[in-house]
């Protein structure tokens, strides 16, 4: 009877396409919304992932990466001296005003990397050589900074601007993940940062560290916490902390979360509803089968087969379309769009669940169905 079930499903092209469209739309909606949400969340961690180091040592009361709480200069040495720490370097991160030759002001994030190692430097460079950052007054921008500050005609390699009344010369353009706040990032060395930043008591923002090979990173993080009293996180935990902070403390969590939840519910309702309608429209055919001696069990199997067949097809097509959409709109990283396998798995599970639920409703309906309707 599997054969009969599939023929019933595919036989009525129009109905099948309607059904498929409903499910595809639902999947697309959810995947697209979910990916954008996830993309936004990735952006919120960009200032962490762009540096890509295993351990972040912070002020113990830190809330998130963009809200810097400076550390005592001695923190670097204290971390270095601990067992299991392979290396530890200072990082400066702070907001400054840049003044372009045109007279325009821009707020920027200045990132100061330790000059000996340049640990935390972006993985990709679009233009120029990152190492030139070691030259006097040299800075490196990321591509978003170029965009925000007026485009390549205004800012490019060789451009000179002012940071706190001191000269900064662009020697390279790096390629990074866009960040949530979209404040332009200017890289310099740690020593360079000390030159640009107005004299404060403390200039050290974070200590970046790595665990020794063979020592579990969590152990080292724990050791840093207990022995220095500082905050310490793995890259993933700090990212998680940051995006949870964004979720809770900005409108994004509520706004986007609601949209996505609605998308999810609407999508799933559409999926369930369309399939339920499909069975209802075929009630007479199922009644005829029941009159001919098909057991409720057989009919249930047929309906499940139909539900999962159309469900998986809709899933495939929906994901395909959502991916194409994401590819087209998020090209170049300008829009947040991160289609992760976790999301795809979640949607698959939810879709199968909804197929199962609507199939069950139909099955119960069929089990109660008096096959006598076929005489009408």
């Amino acid at each position: 009877m599997n054969y009969v079930a599939l023929k019933m499903l595919f036989g009525d092209r129009a109905k099948y396409l309607m059904l498929l469209c409903g499910l595809t739309f639902a999947v697309m909606l959810i995947v697209q919304q979910g990916s954008i949400f996830w993309g936004l969340m990735m952006w919120s961690q960009a200032s962490i992932t762009n540096l890509n180091v295993p351990i972040w040592v912070t002020d113990p009361g830190i809330a998130q990466v963009d809200e810097v709480k400076p550390l005592a200069d001695t923190a670097v040495d204290r971390v270095r001296s601990l067992d299991g720490v392979e290396w530890a370097v200072p990082l400066y991160k702070g907001l400054l005003r840049a003044r372009l030759a045109t007279g325009e002001y821009h707020q920027i994030t200045l990132t100061g990397l330790e000059s000996a190692t340049l640990i935390g430097r972006p993985a990709e460079v679009q233009e120029g050589r990152f190492e030139d950052i070691l030259q006097p007054d040299a800075v490196v921008l990321d591509q978003w900074a170029v965009e925000r500050m007026g485009g390549p005609t205004v800012v490019r390699v060789g451009t000179i601007f002012e940071l706190n009344d001191k000269l900064a010369r662009v020697v390279a353009i790096a390629k990074t993940q866009k960040s949530f706040t979209n404040i332009p990032v200017v890289y310099t060395t740690y020593e360079g940062a000390m030159r640009y930043v107005p004299r404060e008591r403390r200039i050290l923002s974070y200590v970046l560290a790595k665990h020794k090979d063979g020592v579990p990173v969590e152990d080292v993080v724990q050791r840093i916490r207990t022995q220095t009293g500082l905050g310490a996180f793995t890259q993933e935990d700090f990212g998680f902390k940051t995006y949870m902070w964004v979720l809770v403390n900005t409108g994004i969590g509520i706004n986007f979360g609601t949209t996505i939840l609605l998308g999810f519910i609407v999508g799933m309702a559409i999926a369930g509803q369309t399939f339920y309608l499909f069975t209802i429209e075929n009630l007479r055919q199922f009644g005829a089968l029941k009159a001919m001696g098909a057991s409720s069990f057989t009919l249930a199997r047929m309906i499940l087969l139909q539900a999962f067949t159309v469900g998986l097809t809709g899933y495939g097509v929906g994901i395909g379309l959502a991916t194409v959409f994401g590819f087209l709109t998020a090209q170049g990283g300008n829009l947040p769009f991160a289609e992760t396998w976790q999301l795809l798995l979640l949607v698959l599970v939810a879709l199968l669940a909804i197929c199962l639920v609507s199939a069950s409703v139909s099955i119960i309906k069929l089990a109660r169905l008096e096959p006598a309707i076929v005489f009408r």
């Binding site: 054969y3 009969v4 023929k7 019933m8 009159a291 001919m292 001696g293 057991s295």
Partner: protein, 239 residues
């Protein structure tokens, strides 16, 4: 042909069936007694809305009755649990409806094969037997047609082939000619008599079409919820 000493294939006693509850309750069957014998074609007549379909559904075991007993081939239907009753129906009964009720997505041969597929007979064997059956109802060249590409009379032939493919002992037909024009209705009744009727099978045909009355062996009249008259029909040339 049938003397009353032969056991009835269908034996219905005291059947009562009501629909609805309270003020809106209507009692459609008010105590039906009816015997149907192997080898005969019994016509069940009565005015529209009189309960003929309801009685058929009860005999087929697809509608629960309020009172009474129905034995089919010696098996008390009401004593069977629902799943056994369904299986029993699939093995012993064939159905023909006014609206044909073919599955629109299946070809003629596939439609005819469905009762066999339900009995877990392999697809190629089921289709082979289905084609043979379509041959017997005069549609050897229409086996791969979809119902929508067949005329009403042809669709009803497919339905007859489907009803017979399982070799049922009981063939239940509800107004099989009502959706067809006069000549086509006559042909369908001829087919039911020739192919459907056999010594070890009984055929019940519900109709209110007087033009086909002469195809029956006996005629039972259902009036006001009761069988009011059963008469033997004189066959042309056999009197």
């Amino acid at each position: 042909m049938n003397d009353d000493s032969q056991p009835a294939a269908v034996r219905a006693r005291g059947i009562v069936k009501s629909f609805g509850t309270g003020d809106t309750q209507i009692t459609v069957l008010k105590g039906i007694d009816l015997d149907i014998y192997l080898g005969e074609l019994l016509l069940l007549v009565g005015e529209s809305g009189g309960g003929k379909t309801t009685l058929l559904s009860a005999i087929a075991g697809i509608l629960d009755i309020n009172e009474g007993n129905i034995d089919v081939l010696g098996v008390p239907l009401s004593a069977l649990p629902a799943n056994k009753r369904t299986r029993f129906r699939g093995q012993t009964m064939g159905f023909i409806y006014q609206q044909f009720n073919l599955l629109p997505a299946l070809t003629a041969a596939e439609n005819v094969a469905v009762p066999l597929l339900i009995q877990n007979i392999g697809r190629s064997e089921a289709l082979r037997r289905a084609r043979g059956m379509l041959n017997r109802v005069g549609l050897p060249d229409r086996t791969e047609f979809l119902p929508k590409n067949l005329s009403g009379g042809q669709q009803q032939r497919v339905a007859i082939a489907r009803a017979l493919v399982n070799e049922p002992r009981l063939l239940i037909c509800d107004e099989p000619t009502a959706a067809l024009d006069g000549p086509n209705g006559q042909k369908i009744m001829e087919l039911l008599r020739e192919v459907g009727r056999s010594p070890d099978r009984c055929v019940i045909v519900v109709t209110h079409d007087s033009r086909i009355f002469h195809f029956g062996d006996r005629m039972a009249s259902l009036t006001d919820g009761r069988i009011t008259n059963i008469e033997r029909i004189q066959q042309e040339g056999t009197a």
